[in-house]
């Protein structure tokens, strides 16, 4: 993340300075490689064997989903829970159940940004919070969620024409590339979804805005004004969360995408092409600004 920050400021994107293909690729790479250190600990009250198991440490990709990276955690913790009374594994941070169908980076930006690292998560096998979390019985469930979000994104960007022109095997390549951390394989298909010129120019930018304790905001947003002017992150926030712009709330908010605070003058198109998650959505987190910034 630190590296990315410096890279971010090196490339002067705010004034529309043009990047070369190589620079672009380097940014996509940095995003791809973003990771969060996590410490998993079994909930105290669910320890069955009398002895608290050792915590389990993992460096997990920001772009991934927890069910794709926690097999080892599951096996490690399972040995210590009541074999008669356990259900699906779920994770919690500081009383907040974590939705598996949000990318890990979104969960971290939303809940973990101001805590010490590693991010300390509690592992549960009991009392599944049905009201708050979706069930996830297998990796296929994650896959079908992922592909569905990709389709939704393309419906917004290209009226679904790109995704519909693809074959089943393209979807599989996209998923396999994502799942197996194969950057080139993933981008061999994703570049078509990210096509943004001529007839394939984005109609709308797929984005969601998250705030703790609120349902995400998703609206239609065109990347360019009728005059042809590129619209910026500031415009997007004004459209999607007008209440934030009316007051001085924005000053006291951090706007985080992929763990960084992009300048509000950044064109939304650029953000969509470079900082979207693999599901092709730009996931934006709004956080209260904490005083203790150094």
């Amino acid at each position: 993340m630190i590296n990315f920050r410096s890279l971010w400021f090196q490339v002067n994107i705010t004034r529309g300075g043009r990047l070369t293909m190589a620079d672009d690729r380097e940014i996509l790479r940095e995003i791809w490689e973003g990771k969060v250190p996590v410490c998993f600990q079994l909930a105290q009250e669910e320890v069955y064997t009398g002895e608290q198991p050792d915590p389990f440490f993992l460096l997990v990709p920001r772009l991934s989903y927890f069910p794709l990276v926690t097999d080892k955690v599951l096996r490690h913790m399972m040995k210590h829970v009541d074999p008669e009374h356990h259900g699906e594994m779920w994770l919690e941070f500081d009383g907040q159940p974590l939705k598996w169908h949000y990318p890990i980076g979104v969960l971290f930006d939303l809940y973990g940004m101001s805590t010490d690292l590693p991010w300390k998560l509690t592992v549960h096998f009991q009392n599944f919070p049905e009201e708050e979390l979706l069930r996830c019985s297998s990796k296929e469930v994650v896959q079908s969620h992922f592909i569905s979000v990709v389709k939704e994104a393309d419906a917004l960007k290209h009226r679904g024409q790109v995704i519909n022109s693809m074959q089943k095997k393209d979807h599989s390549t996209l998923w396999a590339g994502f799942m197996n951390d194969k950057f080139d394989q993933f981008w061999s298909v994703n570049k078509r979804l990210m096509e943004n010129s001529g007839e394939k120019a984005f109609m709308f930018v797929p984005f969601r805005i998250y705030r703790a304790d609120q349902i995400p905001v998703q609206k239609l947003f065109k990347p360019c004004a009728d005059s042809g002017e590129s619209l910026t992150l500031r415009h997007l926030l004004k459209t999607a969360v007008p209440e934030l712009m009316e007051t001085d709330a924005l000053i006291s908010s951090r706007v985080l995408i992929q763990g960084i605070e992009p300048p509000l003058d950044t064109p939304v198109c650029w953000l969509s092409e470079h900082l979207s998650y693999p599901d092709n959505f730009l996931h934006i987190c709004l956080m209260p600004r904490v005083e203790v910034e150094s």
């Binding site: 079908s144 569905s148 979000v149 419906a155 905001v217 998703q218 239609l220 209440e243």
Partner: protein
């Protein structure tokens, strides 16, 4: 059959008062009844912003269409609170078509993608509604993708 009525009249009023319609949140009330108990303006909304909200803006119209072998719903057009989730609509349809709660039901937007069950109807309506309504296809097996 009350199809004719449903198609012309502004949606919201269920004709038959069955147990399931009772659950539809907004039905049973005329479109003008604004005092919707289940929705409140966002905290911090100023007087000026709330007065701008039209009475019906906390609710949206959805049109439910079957796909595959799913049974047709006699009444297809419903008015629901924007804050209701996809999972709520899915449970509602299941009750209406007398499907077991344990049976799966898939809901599709644009006949293309299935929004996650915790998505609110309002957001989907804003992005994919057209002609003042949101069309959702429901089916018992995965139909698209």
């Amino acid at each position: 059959m009350s199809d004719k009525n449903d198609d012309d009249a502004p949606p919201s009023s269920p004709t038959a008062g069955s147990a399931s319609t009772e659950n539809a949140g907004t039905d049973g009330k005329s479109p003008t009844s604004v005092d919707s108990p289940s929705v409140s303006p966002a905290p911090g909304a100023t007087a000026s912003t709330s007065s701008k909200l039209k009475s019906n803006s906390l609710k949206v119209d959805i049109l439910l269409k079957p796909a595959g072998d799913a049974p047709i719903m006699k009444k297809k057009k419903w008015t629901v609170d924007r804050t209701k989730k996809i999972s709520w609509v899915s449970d509602f349809i299941k009750k209406y078509i007398k499907s077991e709660a344990s049976e799966s039901l898939f809901l599709y937007v644009n006949q293309a993608f299935a929004p996650s069950p915790d998505t609110d109807i309002g957001s989907i309506f804003d992005c994919f509604g057209s002609d003042g309504k949101l069309v959702l296809h429901y089916c018992r097996t995965q139909a698209w993708g």
